[in-house]
């Protein structure tokens, strides 16, 4: 993604590209751990969805169905907060990849 020079930017930090945070793939920040969703344990309490700071919990037909790894930073909050008897989200190791796109 080509980034603007200071001369090309709009005055006063104004961002005319409203909603452009979808382009900011915060998943590229993940380093070493990612959450894994175990559907069979899930009680659909939505705590993970509530706590996730990056809206990375995937929901379909009003049910939690997994993780959006484009935006999940691997912070582990969902796994920590998940209250089901057997955890429905666990953190697992993943290989560190060098990011492409996204922000540094």
């Amino acid at each position: 993604m080509k980034k603007e020079t200071w001369k090309e930017l709009t005055i006063g930090t104004i961002n005319l590209d409203a909603g452009n945070s979808v382009k900011n793939l915060t998943g590229t920040w993940r380093s070493g751990h990612k959450p894994e969703f175990i559907a069979d344990n899930c009680i659909q309490c939505f705590f993970c969805w509530l706590y996730c700071p990056h809206f990375a919990i995937l929901v379909e037909d009003e049910e939690v169905i997994g993780i959006n790894y484009d935006y999940c930073t691997g912070c582990g909050m969902c796994a920590e907060e998940c209250p089901s008897k057997e955890k429905s989200i666990v953190m697992v190791k993943e290989e560190i990849k060098l990011a492409e796109g996204g922000t540094t």
Binding site: I11, T13, N15, L16, A18
Partner: protein
């Protein structure tokens, strides 16, 4: 038709506010600027202004209200002093970063501790890197004139940078002076209609104000901000000239007093410059070739212009009404000495800190400084680069 009115510094600012009638006035009263806020409140109660008058719970909130209102698209102002400006600190940087042309009248006052309500420049000098344009006034008339011009400068589309106008606490804010108040309509015309840039109230466009920047954009946005204040000099010049054409009092970056054949020079800002002029007159009568340079615009700093005006002097004393503990001299001094560095021929420059917490500086004190300058000019030697005026040693 302009009229002569007897007003003190605070009232002159309030008078200009009434004439300009900004959309939003948000301020928290603090000595010695209280009367500005009080008088504006009275104007509002009497139906003399239409702008919203907001009295929030602190100066931090006052500047926050200014930022919100200016982002919404309003012409906005505040007034404060000392601790009040200090409490606005983090918001000052935000106003500048968002390029909001907010206008602030700052009644210059010392900073605690020890607590003191009197005039010095510690407050605005502390904010000198906040990104605001800074204009200083010698007397009530200049405070009125500068305040009116500030709107034109800050709001110019090339500039769009918040601007503060300083006037000395008590010495100016509370001293009555006969000033020329210009006609309401002509002042309104001079200031002109406000044109907001990307106002949030324009709901036909989608955009974000004040988003987060990471390491990949912050630097570019900061550079973009700097451009605004760097574009200000020709605008300040033009507005000062136009003001002169319209009202008969022209303004530049600084005033030179009896500088034509001067060999030594005292540099001092704001109210003390008035006293200094009397000292210069007396010294001139004694045959001394001394002049005064009174900076008006401190940010953006007119480095080349000041250096050109001073480069042929033998010795220059820069008087700062604030200290900069641990630094190599106080702010005005470091700027001026730095500006002269690239000249092969340049004067010896010394620094005096004076008037902290409202301590008087009188004609005899300027004469002491002049005597020291004579010595330096005669011997070419500087004994003390940094000293104090009227301090018990």
């Amino acid at each position: 038709m302009s009229t002569l009115k007897t007003l003190n510094g605070n009232q002159t600012i309030a008078e200009a506010v009434r004439q300009i009638d900004p959309d939003v006035l948000a301020a928290y009263p603090i000595t010695p600027s209280t009367a500005i806020v009080e008088t504006i409140a009275k104007f509002k109660a009497d139906g003399l202004i239409t702008g919203e008058f907001v009295c929030p719970e602190s100066e931090h909130s006052a500047m926050s209200v200014c930022i919100g209102s200016a982002s919404a698209g309003g012409r906005v102002m505040t007034a404060t002093a000392s601790q009040g400006l200090a409490l606005m600190w983090e918001m000052l940087y935000i106003a500048a970063g968002l390029r909001l042309p907010i206008i602030a009248a700052i009644v210059n006052r010392s900073l605690s501790a020890p607590i003191n309500i009197h005039g010095d420049h510690s407050d605005t000098m502390g904010a000198r890197d906040a990104g605001w344009i800074q204009i200083y006034s010698e007397n009530c008339q200049e405070a009125y004139d500068n305040f009116i011009q500030a709107f034109r400068i800050a709001e110019h589309l090339d500039v769009r940078t918040p601007t503060l106008v300083g006037l000395d606490g008590f010495i100016i804010s509370h001293s009555m002076e006969v000033i020329q108040v210009e006609d309401d309509q002509i002042v309104k015309e001079f200031v002109g209609e406000y044109q907001p840039v990307y106002p949030l109230l324009d709901t036909s466009r989608k955009f974000t104000v004040g988003p987060i920047d990471f390491t990949d954009y912050y630097f570019e946005h900061k550079r973009n901000q700097i451009e605004g204040i760097e574009n200000a000099p020709p605008v300040i010049e033009q507005v000062g000239k136009e003001f002169g054409e319209k009202f008969g009092r022209a303004y530049g970056f600084f005033e030179e007093y009896r500088m034509d054949d001067a060999e030594t020079c005292i540099v001092v800002m704001s109210s003390a410059a008035g006293t200094c002029k009397d000292a210069i007159d007396e010294l001139r009568e004694e045959g001394k070739r001394i002049g005064l340079l009174k900076p008006r615009v401190f940010r953006p700093f007119p480095d080349k212009k000041i250096a050109e005006a001073l480069k042929n002097m033998n010795a220059v004393a820069v008087l700062d009404r604030c200290s900069s503990p641990g630094a190599f001299g106080a702010p005005l001094f470091t700027e001026i000495r730095n500006a002269l560095y690239d000249y092969d021929q340049r004067p010896k420059v010394v620094n005096y800190v004076y008037g902290l917490g409202g301590r008087d500086i009188r004609v005899e004190h300027f004469k002491e400084v002049a005597e020291e300058l004579d010595k330096i000019a005669g011997t070419g030697k500087v004994e003390k680069i940094y000293s104090y005026v009227n301090l018990r040693e």
